[in-house]
């Protein structure tokens, strides 16, 4: 909240202005409820209906092979999920449709996921899906068809500052907070978002509410995996799509340790599957410190070197009005989060330029372990999400793997 004095809003305190309403919910709006088939989106839609809006439910068909019935853990795109969403809409008395975004999902999320791994990075496909599918393809179509807002079952909250500009904040329930995967949303997208579960103190209450409302999905398990990798075996899935070529494993000083079966099969922080025959001199386990796809090399070393305190992010986006420091380039105090549900870490942050393009730099006051390029660094002040950037490099102030370049 730029205009407000900082002292009035110590970190962690919810920064809510008196008129902090995310949408003027007193006026009937045309709302498009994105229905995954899960309990959260069903309750979110129910609340929109109850608030007197004209609500239409839409399930996104994202799989290129519609019609698979999945057993075990759940994700999106199954017939069962589509049917659960349909039944929830029946219960709410609202129309239901399936919109097919499978082509865009493949191009923008699945193919991107593969490309990122090919480039040695570790992407977050859920974040990407929010950015490109739910709050771009879906939102754009909804707006074009005359809707005012899109409702989803995300746990995060959209508030407005004194000037009426939108801000993204953490949800009331820290354990469920999903502001991280929404950190990519820009102001123009947030303008049309409504997350009715923002203030729900816990997921248990959402389930109880679903039960009370007669929604059949009340007890449906949460989805966890990447939806397009149903068995959760990301490595195996990638191995079928990326040609692996054997290459060298080196240590943090560039010493050759043996052969790997393909750099793309590794991710930073990984310990298992290195199969280096001989132990390290100090007898301690070795971890993947860096994946270098261009040279097809994997750099390994002791766990301490996974601790990073210097992050550089590229392609920054702003979740609302850009922070004033974006223009001035000054350092500000913020919190940096690098994974959904990871602890945020206090840091000094500034926006600047890198290779002529906008970038973000963060100096952590603590350290984080196993941060891989490609992950999103989401920046918070208190509960507010300032925005995010894609991590281009992460290293410790004591050791920079890029310095190895010369040694190899």
């Amino acid at each position: 909240m730029e205009g407000a004095p900082r002292a009035a809003h110590p970190a962690g305190e919810r920064q809510r202005t008196p008129q902090a309403l995310q949408k003027d919910t007193t006026v009937a709006m045309k709302i498009l409820a994105a229905m995954s088939g899960g309990v959260d989106s069903a309750v979110a839609a129910a609340r929109a209906v109850e608030a007197g809006h004209e609500v239409v439910g839409v399930h996104l068909a994202l799989s290129r092979m519609p019609g698979t019935l999945r057993t075990g853990s759940r994700g999106c795109c199954t017939i069962e999920d589509s049917n659960d969403a349909f039944r929830a809409c029946d219960t709410l008395g609202i129309p239901f449709y399936v919109w097919d975004f499978s082509d865009r999902f493949k191009a923008d999320v699945v193919d991107n996921f593969i490309e990122e791994y090919q480039a040695g990075r570790t992407p977050n496909p859920c974040l990407r899906c929010n950015e490109k599918i739910k709050f771009e393809a879906l939102l754009d179509r909804a707006i074009a068809l005359g809707f005012d807002a899109v409702v989803t079952g995300h746990y995060a909250s959209v508030l407005r500052d004194e000037d009426g500009r939108v801000q993204l904040h953490r949800a009331a329930d820290d354990a469920k907070d999903q502001s991280y995967v929404l950190g990519v949303l820009r102001e123009d997208q947030l303008e049309h978002c409504w997350f009715p579960l923002a203030d729900t103190p816990s997921k248990a209450l959402v389930r109880a509410e679903a039960e009370e409302r007669g929604l059949g999905v009340a007890a449906k398990p949460d989805s966890h995996d990447i939806c397009f990798i149903p068995d959760g075996d990301t490595r195996g899935w990638l191995a079928e799509r990326i040609d692996l070529a054997p290459g060298r494993i080196v240590d943090q000083e560039g010493r050759d340790l043996g052969e790997h079966r393909g750099a793309h099969a590794f991710t930073v922080g990984q310990r298992k599957g290195l199969s280096i025959g001989h132990p390290a001199a100090d007898g301690k386990p070795r971890y993947v410190l860096q994946v270098r796809p261009k040279e097809n090399r994997v750099v390994v070393g002791p766990g301490e070197l996974l601790e990073v305190d210097r992050l550089v992010g590229i392609r920054p986006s702003h979740a609302g009005a850009p922070h004033p420091a974006v223009a001035t380039g000054e350092w500000i105090d913020a919190l940096v989060q690098v994974r959904a549900h990871a602890e945020p870490v206090p840091a000094r942050v500034r926006w600047n330029q890198r290779d002529g393009a906008p970038a973000v730099e963060a100096e952590l006051s603590g350290s984080l372990r196993g941060v891989a390029p490609g992950q999103s660094m989401v920046l918070y002040v208190g509960t507010r999400v300032l925005g995010q950037a894609t991590i281009a490099s992460a290293h410790s102030s004591a050791w920079n793997p890029d310095a190895l370049g010369a040694a190899l």
Partner: protein, 399 residues
Amino acid sequence: MSHAPVYLDHAATTPLSEAAKAAMIEHLGLVGNPSSLHGPGRTAHRLVEEARERLAAAMGVHASELLFTSGGTESDNLALKGTYWARRRLNPAANGILLTGAEHHAVLDTVQWLVEHEGATAHVAPLTADGLLDQAAWEATLADHGATLAVSTLMWANNEVGTVQDVPWAAARSLAAGVPLHSDAVQALGHVPIDLGTAGLASAAVSAHKIGGPVGIGALILRRDQKPVPLQHGGGHERSLRSGTLNVVGALAFAAAAEAALAGLEAEAARVRALRDVLVSGVLAGVEGALLSGPADAERRLPGTAHFTFPGAEGDTILFMLDMAGIASSTGSACTAGVAGPSHVLMSMGASEADARCVQRFSLGASSTPGDVDALLAALPGAVAAARAAGPAAGRRDR
């Protein structure tokens, strides 16, 4: 919604006729399995056989040529799989199936299954741009592959575009080539005059719910000399070709609906056609770029069907906008996941995949009124405009 709900999807299913409803209500309390050997059984048997005779008479076939099934899908499956298997038993080399690409999924997917699992080879004969059979190509395929064809199939009227094929012509050619011809007559029965006794026609599928009967009953018209391998085994009902306790109430309602539909066909077709023509000229005048599908000769189209391409406007978005305005229409085909793909019918008529996504079918029937057409003509231009705006909007933003 400023008007009563408007139902423009009679080709998907049409309301129960008064005659069918009365027949059902009259017999809903009936007890007795038509196969049972006691009094109530005989009563049920009498009723179902009376229904068969009335239905057969209305359709111009003999009662023994009519097998009750659960509907059009089952009839198509039984005719195609059963005939394919039976013919291959006689001649293992006969694995060919002649068809066009515009068939209903009940035919198309059955043939696809036979190709994938039973060693069949599909010969897909082309259509002209207006959806009619390319007769020269059909004859050429019969000439080239006649000896190895197990079965040929040609739908009488197309469920999306409404094109009415010259089935008697094809039946005569198949007869000459010694290949059985099956016709899916689900959309044609009760809407255009058809002769199910046509020489050379081995079998035809019909369904009650497309002509004012209930869902869940249909029939396979099967010439006496045809012996398809059954799909279902059991009590040996229906010439031992379709086991399963007979649906007496359904059969009575089907017969009542067929009698009503066929007796009033000419007058009702003229009424519906006039409405449809108003709809067509209104759409062509009111929606920029609208293209009517199908043969120019209106006699070669179903009287109640109007099918359009609206280039640049995705069919499922038009449907969405019309539905929100209280108007029920169709993109033609939907898969189980509720996602409309491009129309295979339009693609088989030579349309691009992009255009085949931009289609909408409006189908009129017994309950249709001029008010329905007015409501559509008022809402459609806006729906198409919105769909055209939403298409690019849902495309990829510049990155």
